[in-house]
Structures are given as structure tokens and as C-alpha cells.
């Protein structure tokens, strides 16, 4: 299993406590963005387009730990920007680990070898290295040649020193499921503990707006990629969320489950959309009209989203809230998802889109829809 037993125990007991207390909306994962500055300029990223004086600002150690103390959820992801550009990052990680949180530092690993001496291995801490696929795919995706090789060197060094390492991949329109499967083999062969994958969200401020996928395309891609999987592949994600991406489950968004804290405050309503900021998590809960968000709301900004920060929380809560969910999760952990139709999907060449087109939301397409024309 890719997820440490201690983390599963921490999450399951946390969800059960909230359930027994009758709490409906609560945080599962803190998305802590200490800075927006980055050493890459990816066309599909909408997180780093700010004036220089904003990019120079960063959260202090106290502000980062204060955000965790405010919500005390079991997991924290530290994305950015590039967190390894923050000089106090080791202190931030140390403080979070001291609080027995499970910490994932999301990095492109360009600086990993330079700074690895400043960190200590722990079951509570993992580097989540951003790799969007095999060498050519990743370098194209992050718009810099050579970045894959540097990241791989960083992964190997971190593994050698006993750190937990997972990978974090975002897939855009035109992604090749066969290449992604070969990438999974490469990563597991390198000794990573697990992998996380997600479709790209159509960030309003991303410079490139033409390569985000709609929901049917996302399901088709993930079904082809994740069905008939190898037993060696380990995913550091809820199996129920992966089933959602493959089109086997229907979930609604739980944007409050992965709140984002940055120099601006608590972001409304979710990690991806910026519709304002609250001064506290409680204010975020109280001042957001939640029914206006998620695919079911009809909000066009949410129509194509199947991203983990909205839907994985729902899947986790589903998995730990009932025996039915728990057994489905256990089954999903060990299933190889044999599926003949999905094998045929792998024979279809990946077709990238090179133009924007008006979105037509197809009413609840059935899974078979993605098989048409195969």
C-alpha cells in the first residue's frame, strides 16, 4: 500500500470523530501555499502570475504553523510556487511534523539536491515531486528541457537518504495513456512510495487556455490509463477517487475539505478558484455560499472540474463513513480493474486539441459513451 498505515489510521479516526460529532463540513487536507514564486513558468499553471512585489512576499514560519493550529487536520500539502525557494521551509516542515501531521512538500525538485541536507526523513514527511509524465511529456508540460532529469536525480537522492517520495502528475488534453502507464512503471522502478495523478483544472489565469479537458475526456483518459493496471503500481490517493476519475463513481465536490491558506488569507471557495479571502477557516465556512460551487451547481467554472482538491475529500469521507465505503476502498486498493473495453481505448491515438471550442455539457454521459468510436 502506498499510504502509510499510520496516516490511514489518523485520517479514518479523524473522519469518524467528525461524523460522530455531527460535523458536516470540515478540513481534511490543508493546502498551505507559503509563496507564489516559482523557478518554472508552465503554460498551464494559474498560480504564479503575480507582480514581482507579490512574488517576493511569503508566509512566515509562525503564519504557516498558525494556519495548521487553527484547523488541525491530519494532512498538509505544501505547494506554491516552489516551496524549496522559501528559506525557512525546513523549519515549517519541522513544525508541522512536530504536530504529528502528515506533510507532503510539493516540489518540482529543481532545488531538491541543493537543499536536501536541511530536511530529516520521517514517516510524517514526504517529498511530492511534480512530474507530468515521461521525460519528453514532462519537459514539454513544464516548458523547460532537462527538468525531468533533474527531478529524477532529486528523487533518487531522496530515496537514497531514506526519505519518503511520491510523485504528483497533472494531465492535460492530449495526454497519452500508454505513455502515462510507462511512466508509472518508471516511477515504481525508481522506488517511489506512491503516485498521485489529477486532471488539470482550467485556471482562469493560466496563460494557456486551450488544453484543459472536459469531464468525458477526463474519464476516457483515466479509464484507459488506470484499468488493467499492474500490481506494482501504487497510488497515494483514495481508490474511490480514482474510480471517480475512471467514471465508475459519481461524487459531488467538497471544496471545504482541502482549504488553501496563502499570503492573502483563506481562499474562497477552494484551492483552484479565487473569489475572495477569509481571515479564518470558520469565516471561510460561514461566508461562502457553498451551493454555488461544484459540478452539480451549474456554475460554469466548476463544469469541467474533477480535481482532487474538490472531489478526493468526498471520496475519503465516503470511504471512512460506512462499512460499504470501507469495503469498496479495500477492494479498490487491491483490484487491478480488468476491463476489455478500456484496453481498446489504449489503441486509440491521443488527439490533442489545438483550438478552443464552446463547451456543451452532455447530460450525465454514461460510461459507454466514452467507448463510442473505439
Amino acid at each position: 500500500m502506498a499510504i502509510p498505515v499510520a496516516q490511514m489510521w489518523a485520517v479514518s479516526s479523524y473522519v469518524l470523530k467528525k461524523r460522530m460529532a455531527g460535523v458536516k463540513k470540515y478540513p481534511l487536507v490543508l493546502m498551505l501555499e507559503p509563496l507564489f514564486r516559482c523557478n518554472l513558468a508552465c503554460a498551464g499553471c494559474g498560480k504564479v502570475q503575480y507582480p514581482p512585489h507579490i512574488l517576493k512576499k511569503q508566509l512566515t514560519v509562525e503564519e504557516c504553523l498558525g494556519a495548521m493550529d487553527e484547523i488541525m487536520c491530519p494532512i498538509v500539502c505544501v505547494p506554491g510556487g516552489e516551496p524549496l525557494l522559501h528559506k525557512d521551509m525546513p523549519k515549517i516542515i519541522e513544525g508541522l511534523v512536530a504536530r504529528k501531521r502528515f506533510v507532503y512538500l510539493c516540489t518540482n525538485a529543481l532545488e531538491l539536491k541543493n537543499r536536501i541536507d536541511e530536511f530529516k526523513p520521517s514517516v510524517h514527511f514526504a517529498f511530492a515531486v511534480h512530474l507530468d509524465g515521461q521525460r519528453e511529456h514532462h519537459d514539454y508540460s513544464v516548458c523547460r528541457e532537462g527538468s525531468y532529469d533533474i527531478a529524477v536525480e532529486g528523487i533518487k537522492e531522496a530515496r537514497k537518504r531514506g526519505f519518503r517520495v511520491i510523485t504528483n502528475s497533472t494531465l492535460f488534453d492530449g495526454a497519452d495513456p500508454n505513455s502515462a502507464r510507462a511512466f508509472f512503471d518508471e516511477m515504481m522502478g525508481m522506488g517511489v512510495e506512491g503516485m498521485t495523478i489529477s486532471p488539470g483544472y482550467s485556471y482562469e489565469k493560466a496563460p494557456d487556455q486551450d488544453h484543459f479537458m472536459g469531464r468525458a475526456k477526463t474519464r476516457k483518459l483515466f479509464r484507459g490509463m488506470l484499468s488493467n493496471r499492474k500490481s506494482s503500481w501504487k497510488f497515494n490517493m483514495s481508490p474511490l477517487f480514482l474510480e471517480f476519475l475512471m467514471g465508475d463513481r459519481h461524487y459531488e465536490c467538497s471544496p471545504w475539505s482541502m482549504p488553501c491558506f496563502s499570503i492573502f488569507g483563506w481562499q474562497k471557495p477552494c484551492y483552484l478558484m479565487q473569489e475572495g479571502y477569509a481571515n479564518s477557516y470558520q469565516e471561510l465556512l460561514d461566508s461562502t455560499t457553498w451551493e454555488n460551487y461544484g459540478a452539480a451547481s451549474g456554475n460554469p467554472k466548476c463544469a469541467n472540474c474533477m480535481v482532487s482538491c474538490g472531489y478526493e475529500g468526498t471520496a475519503v469521507m465516503d470511504g471512512f463513513s460506512s462499512w460499504k465505503g470501507f469495503f469498496a476502498m479495500a477492494r479498490g486498493t487491491f483490484s487491478l480493474y480488468k476491463d476489455k473495453a478500456a484496453l481498446k481505448l489504449l489503441e486509440t491515438p491521443a488527439k490533442p486539441a489545438h483550438r478552443p471550442a464552446p463547451l456543451v455539457k452532455i447530460k450525465e454521459p454514461e460510461r459507454a459513451l466514452e467507448e463510442v468510436g473505439v
Binding site: C38, P51, D173, F264, P356
Partner: protein, 142 residues
């Protein structure tokens, strides 16, 4: 197969399900008229979603360069507020809509440009010219 499935071919699914993305508004350099309260509110809403600095001139003549990251709107201009960072101050600041006389989208729009196709074109050209370590680099922090 359901009627829904029969209705579409795979090519149509491919064509229909391309997310449209957001059409960027070219606001850089714009100075809205602010003729009435509705125009002021609309322009400040655009300032909130603008990924560059704006210059605000107050009714007392003071000029403020600001990156607007939030706004809280009330029933009147006096109880509507912009939240911003100024380039040379570490703390968050706020300003009542009622104090604002003029707005200019003076800073560079950091979300504009850099399309995927531009990157691929640049990459192919440099590759053909024999260059190595080709890549886009973040804007300088000036």
C-alpha cells in the same frame, strides 16, 4: 447503449468536451470612466481579478499603487472595501470604495500571453538551431 450514447460519435465528444478556457480581457492601460456608482463597482471588480498592479487616485489627491487581492462589497460605497498589498509595504491594507476618484490598470498583466503553441513554436525553432536546455523562464523579480 442509451439514446445519449447513440446521439454522439467519439469525434463529437472530442469536439464538444474541450473545455473553453477563459477569454482574457485586455485591461492593461485601461482607465475606466467611473461615471457612476455602478461603473465604479464594475471596474473595481475587474481590478480584483486583474493579475497586475493598479493605480488608485483618492478623492483627497493621494495616489496608491496596489495589487488588489480581495473586495468586500456592502450596500453603500462607504461600506464596500478593497483589500490590497502596496509594493513597498509588508502588511495588507484596505480602502473604502467611497474614497476612490480614479482607477488605472497601470501595471503589466502577468496572466497575459505565453500560450502553449508559442512555447512549442519557440522550442522547435531553438531545437532546429541546435540549442540545448531550452525553456521558458519566470519573469524577473525586478
Amino acid at each position: 447503449m442509451s439514446a445519449e450514447v447513440l446521439k454522439y460519435t467519439m469525434d463529437q465528444v472530442e469536439a464538444l468536451e474541450i473545455a473553453p478556457g477563459t477569454e482574457a480581457e485586455n485591461l492593461e492601460g485601461w482607465i475606466p470612466e467611473l461615471a457612476d456608482e455602478a461603473e465604479l463597482r464594475l471596474a473595481l471588480e475587474k481590478a480584483f481579478s486583474y493579475r497586475g498592479d493598479v493605480t488608485l487616485t483618492l478623492k483627497n489627491g493621494e495616489r496608491i499603487e496596489a495589487f488588489v487581492f480581495d473586495r468586500r462589497t456592502g450596500r453603500t460605497l462607504a461600506d464596500s472595501w478593497l483589500h490590497y498589498f502596496a509594493p513597498n509595504a509588508p502588511e495588507k491594507r484596505k480602502l473604502s470604495y467611497a474614497e476612490i476618484a480614479r482607477l488605472e490598470f497601470s501595471g503589466k498583466d502577468r496572466a497575459a500571453g505565453k500560450h502553449w503553441e508559442d512555447w512549442v513554436k519557440k522550442y522547435n525553432e531553438k531545437k532546429a538551431a541546435g540549442e540545448k536546455n531550452i525553456g521558458l523562464v519566470p519573469d524577473a523579480l525586478e
